[in-house]
């Protein structure tokens, strides 16, 4: 056991004292108290059965250097499309010179720090109201340390012309740092938009990141959200995505987990208005000793809603993946139509996948299905590719591309889909044999 001179939670309390007092102070303090209470659970805790947080608990994190800046050149490789409006944070610090997104009538894009200071009433109903920090140390910590991030607010009837790209880059320093990226999207009735997050680690410093995104959709909203994870080699990524949907809304969130030693994501959708449709997708690549955990929960609170969950894990080497998916159907939420699938492609004898589907249903006229599969590559398909001249390693990689393709094909923004396809290709064995992605 490492000897600890300081209790990490008290370090957080000290850091919190340095934060400005504002409309959110009370919520932050409450979250801090909660964080101190629950701490980092051991693997005996049911929710943490698959993720070992001992090292996180034993590490003392400081905040980032508030003067952190970065060259545009260092950011350029992660920009999806030069014309796509973006907001850039480095080690949690907003970078005005690298950010290009601006508000326009009906589409308000602001820093959370600004809104907290100038118009906190815009936040009170939404911020930290949907991502549940009562039972999760990462989310509680994130809420306790909430100082900045991005708020997108769409006035009823408006449409975002292009996706917004929010880039959270981390570089860290000699001492471990923690960052708490935050995105809040409040989409009024009859709005349409797309928000893409990238979490990019630059290098191998020790970082804890706890990104929390809340997407609140009114009635007849069409909202797409993507989270691309490309963390550094020593970054623990423990994140939350929470959707809250009104009637006739279609909201999707897609997690693309490519890099980082530990990527744990809680994704929760609450269908609060009839005829809502929640689409939760995820693709995670396991390499080396990477640990992936996805915890999903869909709450069908009212009748006539639909949810579709599809998560895929590709596991090589000694990587592990755990999937927990709970479908909750409230009393009276009749005609619920919920489908959940988790597919694991296990490519190495030492990789491990586990799946826990959970149904909690209090209505009698519902259609809820779940399916979890764990398998290897299809030998017949492999032989077909080989017989056409594709070397074995490349043929295997191509079948991984095929497996992932079912998630990536649904990624709507071309530049993001293209980037994801390239990242996938580059991470596969024998990539030099694979044709470039067009």
């Amino acid at each position: 056991m490492p000897t600890m001179t300081t209790d990490p939670a008290s370090t957080v309390a000290q850091r919190l004292k340095d934060l400005p007092s504002d409309a959110l102070s009370a919520r932050r303090e409450e979250a801090l108290a909660r964080y101190q209470d629950i701490q980092w659970p051991s693997m005996r805790d049911e929710a943490w059965r698959y993720t070992n947080t001992r090292e996180i608990a034993a590490t003392e994190f400081s905040g980032a250097d508030s003067s952190a800046t970065i060259d545009a050149d260092a950011v350029a490789p992660y920009v999806l499309d030069a014309d796509m409006p973006r907001i850039v944070f480095v080690d949690g610090i907003f970078q005005p010179d690298l950010s290009t997104a601006t508000s326009r009538p009906g589409v308000h894009i602001d820093r959370l720090a600004t809104v907290m200071a100038d118009a906190p009433e815009r936040l009170t109903d939404h911020l930290a109201a949907h991502a549940d920090w009562s039972d999760d140390p990462a989310c509680a910590l994130s809420t306790a340390m909430l100082t900045d991030g991005v708020m997108v607010e769409l006035d009823p009837g408006t449409r975002m012309d292009t996706p917004l790209h929010v880039m959270f880059l981390t570089r860290g320093g000699e001492a471990p740092i923690s960052v708490h990226p935050r995105v809040l999207v409040v989409a009024g009735d009859e709005t349409t938009g797309t928000v893409i997050e990238s979490h990019v680690g630059l290098g191998g410093n020790t970082v804890l990141t706890t990104p929390v995104t809340e997407l609140i959709a009114g009635d007849k909203v069409n909202l797409d959200h993507y989270r691309m994870v490309r963390e550094g080699s020593n970054t623990w990524h423990l994140g939350d995505i929470a959707l809250h949907q009104g009637a006739h809304s279609e909201v999707s969130s897609c997690l693309l987990a490519f890099d980082g030693p530990m990527i744990r994501t809680r994704m929760r959708a609450t269908l609060a208005g009839e005829h809502g449709n929640a689409i939760l997708h995820g693709l995670a690549l396991g390499h080396g000793a990477r640990h992936i955990e996805n915890l999903l929960r869909v709450n069908h609170m009212v009748p006539n809603c639909r949810s579709r969950e599809s998560f895929k894990h590709v596991l090589e080497d000694n990587s592990t993946a755990a999937f927990t998916g709970r479908i909750y159907v409230a009393e009276g939420a009749q005609k619920t139509d919920a489908v959940q699938t988790n597919r694991n492609l296990v490519l190495s004898p030492t990789a491990r996948a586990s799946a826990r589907p959970q149904l909690e249903i209090y209505a009698d006229d519902v259609k809820c299905t779940h399916g979890a599969t764990t398998g290897e590559l299809d030998q017949e398909s492999l032989f077909y590719l080989q017989a056409r001249g594709v070397p074995t390693a490349a043929a295997r990689s191509m079948l991984v591309q095929a497996f992932a393709g079912e998630i990536l094909d649904d990624v709507a923004p071309d530049s993001l889909r293209g980037q994801a396809q390239m990242l996938l290709r580059d991470r596969l064995p024998a990539a030099e044999h694979l044709a470039m992605v067009e």
């Binding site: 299809d378 030998q379 017949e380 398909s381 032989f383 077909y384 590719l385 080989q386 017989a387 056409r388 001249g389 594709v390 070397p391 074995t392 490349a394 043929a395 191509m398 079948l399 591309q401 095929a402 497996f403 992932a404 393709g405 079912e406 094909d409 044999h433 694979l434 044709a435 992605v437 067009e438």
Partner: protein, 252 residues
């Protein structure tokens, strides 16, 4: 030239091929006929290198190269092409992407320059026209949702792209209507040439009206029991495989 000598192969310890001798010279078209279960498809898969089958004896030599020493992708690069009886569907990878990768791999192995995007697409257009294949299909997943005819045409199209020296067609006629059969046969005929040979495996004589073979072999119970000219196919059509099933191997 493809030389198969005393080839024995089994699956799960059950012998299927029991001593096949077959030589196909450059430019020749041979047909292999035989009743169900005689080992026709097994021979095709063994030639292509399917590891589900174990070769227990004999040799396969293509243009002086021992094919049994080569992996399936190396055999493809060395000039072996097998058109599958049941081409697999691979959702998630487009036909074009797959073919581009296959072409590049084969060309790299043959120490040829890789094709650039323009050259590749022009070749695609030209070869797709040979088998009247709609190039829109190439943006779809590999064989994904193709009709029976489209699948077979796509196989012959791939064959045309990869320019093999020996083409093995495993019951390419199965499931095809007469028009599709004619189109596929036309594609094959356009590819015939002095440096390319064919082994056309079929249960029925029908295909051989359109792809006229130089030599017809009859496979029964894992052995070639009779070989002859193209008229042998007609004879079989009239009299059925009873003609040969009781007979003894001609070349044995």
């Amino acid at each position: 030239m493809l030389q198969i000598t005393n080839l024995h192969a089994s699956i799960d310890d059950t012998p299927i091929l029991r001593g096949i001798d077959l030589t196909i010279k450059d430019g020749e078209v041979h047909s292999l006929m035989g009743p169900n279960g005689s080992g026709k498809s097994t021979l095709a898969k063994v030639l292509a290198g399917d590891e589900a089958y174990e070769v227990t004896d004999g040799s396969i030599v293509l243009d002086g190269q021992d094919l049994l020493e080569l992996d399936p992708h190396e055999r493809a690069a060395a000039g072996m092409f097998m058109a599958f009886q049941y081409p697999v569907e691979i959702p998630g990878v487009t036909m074009k992407y797959f073919l581009r990768t296959a072409m590049n791999s084969v060309r790299k192995y043959r120490e040829q320059e890789e094709l650039d995007a323009y050259e590749f697409l022009s070749l695609v257009k030209e070869r797709a026209a040979m088998v009247e294949l709609d190039t829109d299909l190439l943006d779809r997943p590999v064989n994904g949702g193709f009709s029976g005819g489209e699948k077979k045409r796509a196989e012959i199209f791939q064959m045309a792209m990869l320019e093999p020296s020996i083409c093995v067609l495993d019951e390419t006629d199965s499931g095809l209507d007469i028009d599709a059969l004619r189109t596929v046969a036309d594609g094959v005929n356009k590819m015939r040439g002095a440096d390319r040979s064919f082994l056309v495996i079929t249960h029925y004589q029908r295909l051989l009206t359109y792809i006229v073979p130089d030599i017809v072999h009859v496979l029964v119970d894992g052995r070639i029991v009779r070989s002859g000219g193209k008229e042998l196919a007609l004879e079989l059509e009239e009299q059925g495989y009873a003609l040969v099933e009781d007979g003894h191997p001609v070349d044995a």
